[in-house]
């Protein structure tokens, strides 16, 4: 039996229109990510965008702490339950599944999220004064929790560093390719 290679990708990596205002770096598809995945034989599985479906396309910018609410987590769990059956199907049949999130995002961050506990009230913060902290975003936390509830193994994950304050496409591409090319390499092998 042939096993597929499947990449779960953050919604906005296929559709930059989902980004918060001023957050889109591409017109639509983030082609470097798609190219890196397709050239290595990965099938793409787009995740829902939790922020768009919750706060809309005209939402304010926000940090992790502002989305860390019972209502938003319940919303993320509903989205996770919508997409989890597809992920479970792949994992149960032995396909290789990876996750490419969006580092720096309060929702879709994998290695890093944005944090500023005192953000709130009138949206007049000075530019880029949030902190980047090593932590999952709220959506990724809830998605992983749903997979765990289903008794599924952890999915290897990384993030495309789009929301880290200053976007470095070449660095992000190198980072992603390194992650992808390290897959399937046994570190104990000679």
């Amino acid at each position: 039996m042939t096993h597929a290679k499947v990449a779960l990708i953050a919604n906005c990596l296929l559709n930059q229109n989902a980004k918060v205002c001023e957050g889109a770096h591409y017109r639509g598809v983030v082609n470097p990510v798609v190219e890196a995945l397709r050239s290595r034989g990965y099938e793409l599985l787009q995740l829902p965008c939790p922020e768009l479906a919750f706060a809309g396309v005209r939402r304010w910018w926000a940090v992790y702490e502002q989305y860390d609410t019972p209502a938003y987590r319940a919303h993320c769990r509903r989205l996770a339950q919508a997409i989890a059956p597809r992920i479970e199907q792949h994992l149960r049949r032995g396909d290789e599944v990876i996750l490419i999130g969006l580092d720096g995002s309060p929702s879709s961050g994998v290695r890093f999220t944005s944090s500023k506990p005192d953000w709130g009230g009138r949206p007049n913060r000075p530019e880029d004064d949030w902190d980047i902290v090593p932590r999952r975003g709220v959506w990724i936390e809830e998605l992983e929790a749903e997979l765990t509830r289903r008794g599924l193994p952890a999915v290897p994950a990384t993030g495309w560093a789009l929301d880290m304050g200053r976007f470095d496409e070449a660095g992000s591409r190198r980072d992603l390719e390194q992650f992808l090319d390290s897959r399937g390499i046994d570190p104990a092998a000679p």
Binding site: A4, L14, G28, Q46
Partner: protein
């Protein structure tokens, strides 16, 4: 929206067009579906500046389609152009129209304009036909001015 590169246009895309080959191995642009030749729709959409809302393969996806309908409605109500790219010969074009249409209607949204790729036609010519459709489509200027500032 200064410093923002969004294109304000997107397409609903069936699973089979997002992933031209669904078996292991490199999925190269222009790769053919079994028994059919189709253009690399994702590549054409990328070149035309469209984003993608990926639809699941055939099957029961009630909750996921409701989530996708929520997103389409949000875009449609705020000045974004949404189209649907189907595949002739696939059930419903691969677009889940029988399930999605009532979900959209319930949210006050008309079904997006639809383009169908023909697997029996020349793939390169179909790619050009798709590109022409995508390049020529957008919301009326009045609607664009209302939202895209």
């Amino acid at each position: 929206m200064s410093g923002d590169a969004r294109g304000w246009r997107m397409a609903l895309l069936p699973h089979t067009l997002t992933n031209p080959r669904t078996v292991a191995g490199a999925a190269l642009p222009g790769a053919a579906l079994p028994g059919a030749a189709l253009p690399d729709a994702l590549g054409v959409l990328t070149a035309c500046g469209y984003g993608v809302l990926q639809l699941p393969p055939a099957g029961e996806h009630g909750l996921l389609l409701a989530v996708i309908a929520d997103q389409i409605a949000e875009y449609a109500h705020h000045g974004y152009a949404v189209v649907a790219i189907g595949v002739r010969g696939e059930p419903g074009g691969g677009l889940h129209g029988r399930r999605l249409a009532p979900l959209l209607r319930h949210r006050g949204v008309a079904p997006p304009p639809r383009f169908s790729l023909r697997p029996d036609a020349d793939a390169a010519a179909e790619g050009q036909r798709l590109a022409a459709f995508l390049s020529g489509y957008d919301l009326p200027e009045e609607e664009q001015r209302r939202w895209r500032v």
